[in-house]
Amino acid sequence: MAVKRSRRRETRLATALVAPAVLILGVFVLYPLLRTAWLGFFVQDPFGRNSRWVGLDQYRDVAGSDSFLNSLGVTVRFVVLTVPTALVLGLLLATLANQQLRGIRLFRIIFASTIATSVAVASMLWLVLLEPSTGIVNQVLEAAGRDPVNLLNDPDTALATVALTTVWQSLGLVFVVTIAAMQSIPEVLYESARVDGHGRVSRFLRITVPLLGPQLMFLTVVLTIGAFQSFGQIDILTEGGPQDSTNVMVYSIVQQLPLDRGAASVEAVLLFLVVGALSFVQFRWLDRRVHYGS
């Protein structure tokens, strides 16, 4: 409102209105970030005593350590395994469900259903499916006369298996966002492309995908940030093993937390640099969309 009362009066009211949010964000978001960066300058013994200033040494040591490079590598591989897969599969589901058929709503509900699962729920479902002795997967393999597998216990397959459960859990989200956008694409665009002689695949690539650009961009960033923050599925399915093959960054931070606060802080700061940059991209994009969209 254009009324500019005395600024002091508005400042007093504004202070009261923003105080709760400022307090919480200050204590639980901004202060922790700064203190985490600060803690990275100190080393201490495993009992949390004898804190000693080491400057940037610890940052250098941790960033160059095998265990950090391993979790960074694992995390990046996890991102690469999950994000494109979830995007492509979700997009295919949406395409499949974007038909005018009797009863299509039922299929849409099924395709969207994994949105109701949490990371923990999805992980428990798959844990039981993959359970080595009585799990359904091995039952099927046995019935087919194949050897039983223990995918979560094999360093070569563990990460991909965790990724599979994550992709399954993300499908609902990708599906819901893309089908909503697909349905808002005017039918006339497809009709005109059809008149111009474009086939089904060509229409998909030349109309659907470009017009879904904003949504695909949004999903890419959200899924990527989510993958960098993965913790629950690792904790439930593999606990970082076997042989650290699934020890992603957040899992590593949590493991370090009681043992080596300084090192955990450094890893947290490094994680922030990666995720912060991605979030920044997303925020800028969202902001623009809110301003110029609709």
Binding site: M1, K4, R7, E10, A14, T15, L17, P20, A21, V22, I24, L25, V27, F28, V29, L30, P32, L93, L101, F111, S113, T114, I115, A116, S118, A120, V121, A122, M124, L125, V128, L129, T134, I136, A143, W168, L171, L173, V176, F218, V222, I225, G226, F228, Q229, S230, G232, D235, I236, L257, R261, A264, S265, A268, V269, L271, Q282, F283, L286, V290
Partner: protein, 281 residues
């Protein structure tokens, strides 16, 4: 001619059948883990060693009491509900108040605050977990409800969503309320808030989903069973009921039911909330 027409009709018919078959096949694949869980949940320990477990031969809710009682899912569900509702209320209140101030009030430090909220938006909780755990420990917050709730009571994305919603209110309506004699608090209560109801609903749903699905933080700050939330309670199940996969699956499905109900009731808000943006998976 008639034969041709019939052939075309047949071709169209078989094409339709093919479409449905494809949809059904894909649906079966997507749904399989949930289907298997529902089947396993109804079987006893002794039946698990064979593929017959997938046969829907009965409706057996026998493992529900075990899951709720022995496996303590009842307690976990109550904890999760208490914590999630408290977080939603807190987030909505702080987001509405701060969003209104950032949208309409002219005050010293406004730009700095906007920048600070934007900065908070890109700081993932996982990064602050080291120090937040320290804070909660020092304040004696381990195994308390407030430790589960308080860090999430302000939500940068919520503040921005509400600010954006307030800015979307036609300016004339707000001016009219000023002329009609209302101050900012009156306008917020009588005009602005009722007009952004749908955003509040979307935000509430979204923040409930995030709160209900939280894993890392509850895992860190709860040790006692009677404070655990449902998500981390799930992981403890193997310890509580041993290898009884039926009970574990029942418990897992129970953890999902509140969300399913919400999603069915608030489908529309869900889509709004999701497209408005999520940072945390």
């Amino acid at each position: 001619m008639a034969a041709d027409a019939k052939r075309i009709e047949l071709a169209a018919g078989s094409k339709l059948v093919a479409r449905y078959l494809l949809l059904a096949l894909v649906a079966a694949i997507v749904l399989f883990p949930v289907y298997a869980a529902v089947m396993v949940a109804q079987k006893s320990l002794t039946e698990l060693g064979s593929l017959d477990v997938l046969v829907p031969d009965r409706i057996d809710l026998g493992s529900v009491p075990t899951a709720l009682g022995e496996a303590r899912m009842g307690r976990y569900l109550v904890n999760s509900a208490v914590v999630s509702v408290a977080i939603v209320i807190g987030q909505v209140v702080t987001s509405v108040l701060a969003g209104y101030a950032l949208a309409f009030l002219d005050f010293t430090g406004r730009r700095a605050l906007l920048a600070a909220v934007a900065a908070s938006l890109i700081i993932p909780f996982e990064v602050t977990v080291v120090v937040n755990f320290e804070t909660v420990q020092q304040l004696g917050g381990v195994d308390t409800y407030w430790a589960l709730v308080l860090p999430f009571v302000a939500f940068p994305l919520g503040i921005f969503l509400m600010r954006q919603a307030f800015l979307g209110i036609p300016r004339d309506l707000l001016d009219a309320a000023v002329v009609d004699g209302y101050g900012h608090l009156g306008i917020l209560r009588s005009v602005a808030l009722p007009l952004v109801r749908s955003t509040v609903a979307a935000l509430s749903l979204f923040s409930f989903l995030l709160a209900w699905n939280q894993y890392l933080w509850p895992l860190l700050v709860t040790n006692r069973d009677d404070r655990r939330t449902v998500q981390i309670g799930l992981k403890q199940l193997t310890g509580a009921v041993g290898p009884d996969l039926g009970v574990i699956m029942t418990a897992t499905l129970l953890a999902t039911i509140p969300i399913l109900v919400l999603l069915v009731v608030f489908e529309r808000q869900l889509i709004r909330g999701l497209t408005a943006g999520s940072v945390k998976g």
